[in-house]
Amino acid sequence: MIQVNNLTKKYNATTVLNIQELEIPKGQSFGLVGNNGAGKTTFFSLLLDLIEPTTGGIINHNVVVNTSENWKNFTGAFLDESFLIGYLTAEEYFYFIGELRGQNKADVDALLKKYEEFFNNEILNTKKYLRDLSKGNMKKVGIIATLIGNPEVVILDEPFANLDPTTVNRLKKIVKELAENPDVTVLISSHDLLHTVEVCNRIVALNKGEVVKDINTSEETLKELEAFFAV
């Protein structure tokens, strides 16, 4: 379970995030939607202790994120390309992450085998360094790397952006599978309302750093969200 208490982030006088209370139960697939600058990435960065909260904090499975580092053992995340090591090949990168998470080569190979279809023969055995891959392929590598070591919390920032239509559908399948596992909490942010509604069972909309909608997904959710973001 992830608990957010009185969390704010300010840059000088500008408040970019202000969440009084938010609880994400274990096993939930949680979607974060909002326009540019709504605070989605800021929230994820705070959740990963990459920036310092101005007030309050986040508790991830009983670990206070900005005081202990133990959350790293059960959390996998991919925010952007700065999570990739450009001079490694995809395999080397996966093994590197695997070794850091106590997985041996066979474990990693088994996982990669499972997602072979998602890679679409564009990732493995290509002898390409990650820095030379296209944006979409970089994303594929980053997303699968978060799943190494069976994390209980998976955080993906804009996972659908830059992917081709086929891969988007494959990714939706992967996320749905993850969401079915009651031990895995999935957090996803996106601009795309349709994709998010499809894979998440709860959706929170942020606007200028504040929670403006918090809905459990149902038939009407998409309409409700579209009405909210309509111009």
Partner: protein, 487 residues
């Protein structure tokens, strides 16, 4: 059109990240530049009178060694001059003629630092020649000729850029020429000196370099224009991955994991590779000091020895953890212990220093005392300087662009009070310890003290690591923000 280009250039210059440093540093940099400019001017003037004093004809002597001067220039350019390609990418889709873009980007290289520096030497030297009654026309054609040759090298470097094979051949020829000159086997200057001298004596000869320059400009122009599409030259060159699993490192556990990564970092990135080249050059730094009797036996012997064995240590270590800046966010979300992370970098530095110590064995040629100084400072580097260097690195907040060799000469943002605080002792302590030995009139006391400092440092290794870990922890958020700002 040119006006637009020039404003773009001016903005990119004024708004570059390096300009946004504090005032004190700007003044410091200005003073350094002035110092170097003054040194060159002084050399230009001094060369004339100095050579005359020892009874040599100045112009002829300068011409004799000109070929080596130009060779050195060529080497420097190969390693450090950046080829202007990517900056023109956004211009391609705008309504500008391709020819204009190519002319402009080639013209831009002419104003490069590597070309302008020479002026500080050649202009004063030429003026002095004129004052001393050399033929006006001759000096002008000579000056013009040399300038043309320098520009020729400029374009040649663009043509052969990144072709390691060609560079290897050229480098081998140059080293061979120097060696054969040294051993009186073959003296290339006999053939080149008349050419450079000819530029002065026969005004028409200046047409030779000028026409060569025009030809190479024509070639470079076509070469560039042909590749001026996004999928050719402007596209970052993609190298096929060389697979080397380095599996034998697996036996070292997490240390092995990091070491594997660091070795790949060094082998696969241009910027990191420059560190290796620089370390190799540092190996020969001692030649400046040990070949001159005034330095031999003095405290500068320790100073030189620190650099001979510590080249890699200093060049690599001062940018830990900045080497990992481009994926620092990843590192910060993995459960990594800082200790193991640091340990891997430290071991790499130790291995580098040990290799340098081994390669520096040739200094035994300069006598036992020089050699043992090198060994002692090697131990000192491993046991003491390695920690100082890591402390410097902990306060260095520079996002390193692994793909470009730029910034290898030390980055401006890396300069702050704390890094200075940890950098100076790296050289001063061994000098002082060596001085103690001199005062006690026993060379071996100084040497033992230097080695002892190294051994002492090793004993406190885990303590010192703890301090550095705390700095890393405390500076975490600042580091992430700083590493996000790319130049």
């Amino acid at each position: 059109m040119i006006k637009h280009f020039l404003t773009l250039e001016w903005k990119s210059f004024v708004r570059s990240a390096s300009f946004k440093t504090n005032l004190a540093f700007k003044i410091f940099m200005a003073l350094i530049s002035l110092y170097f400019a003054a040194m060159f001017v002084f050399m230009g003037i001094g060369a004339f009178y100095g050579l005359k004093k020892v009874g040599l004809e100045p112009l002829q002597t300068v011409n004799k060694f000109m070929i080596y001067y130009l060779f050195a220039d060529m080497m420097m350019r190969y390693f450090f001059q950046k080829i202007p390609t990517l900056t023109i990418r956004p211009l391609l889709v705008l309504p500008i003629k391709k020819n204009t873009i190519v002319h402009f980007s080639l013209g831009k290289t002419v104003l490069n630092y590597f070309n302008t520096t020479h002026a500080f030497f050649f202009i004063p030297f030429s003026i002095i020649l004129l004052i001393n009654g050399y033929s006006v026309l001759g000096v002008i054609t000579w000056h013009l000729g040399i300038l043309t040759v320098i520009l020729f090298i400029n374009f040649l470097n663009i043509l052969i850029n990144n072709k390691d094979v060609i560079f290897g051949i050229v480098a081998a020829i140059i080293v061979g020429l120097i060696a054969s000159q040294y051993y009186n086997l073959f003296d290339i200057t006999i053939y080149t000196q008349p050419f450079f001298q000819g530029l002065y004596e026969h005004a028409w000869m200046v047409l030779l370099p000028i026409s060569t320059l025009i030809i190479i400009y024509y070639f470079t122009f076509n070469f560039f224009k042909k590749d001026l599409t996004l999928d050719e030259r402007l596209h970052i060159k993609k190298n096929l991955a060389t697979s080397n699993d380095l599996t034998w490192l697996n036996q070292f556990g997490t240390l092995g994991t990091f070491l594997k990564n660091d070795i790949k970092l060094l082998m696969r990135n241009k910027r990191a590779k420059t560190t290796l080249y620089m370390s190799f050059f540092f190996l020969f730094y001692g030649l400046i000091f040990f070949t001159q009797d005034i330095y031999k036996g003095g405290v500068m012997q320790a100073f030189a020895a620190v650099f001979v064995t510590g080249g890699f240590l200093i060049n690599f270590g001062q940018f830990v953890p900045s080497w990992d800046s481009s994926y620092y966010q990843l590192m910060m979300t993995q459960s990594i212990s800082y200790k193991e992370y640091l340990n891997s970098k430290w071991w790499l530095m130790v291995i580098g220093t040990a290799i340098s110590m081994f390669l520096a064995s040739f200094y035994i040629y300069f006598g036992w005392e020089v050699y043992i100084t090198i060994l002692a400072t090697g131990i000192y580097n491993i046991g003491f300087n390695s920690f100082l260097v890591l402390l410097t690195g902990a306060y260095t907040r520079t996002a390193i662009d692994l793909e470009s060799a730029k910034g290898a000469f030390g980055d401006k943002k890396a300069f702050n009070f704390k890094t200075l605080l940890f950098s100076l002792p790296q050289m001063i302590i061994p000098i002082l310890l060596f001085g103690v030995g001199l005062l006690a009139d026993n060379f071996y006391i100084g040497i033992s003290l230097i080695a002892c400092f190294g051994i002492l440092g090793l004993l406190f290794k885990s303590r010192i690591f703890l301090i550095i870990e705390n700095i890393f922890q405390k500076e975490k958020y600042n580091a992430i923000v700083a590493y996000k700002q790319k130049n």
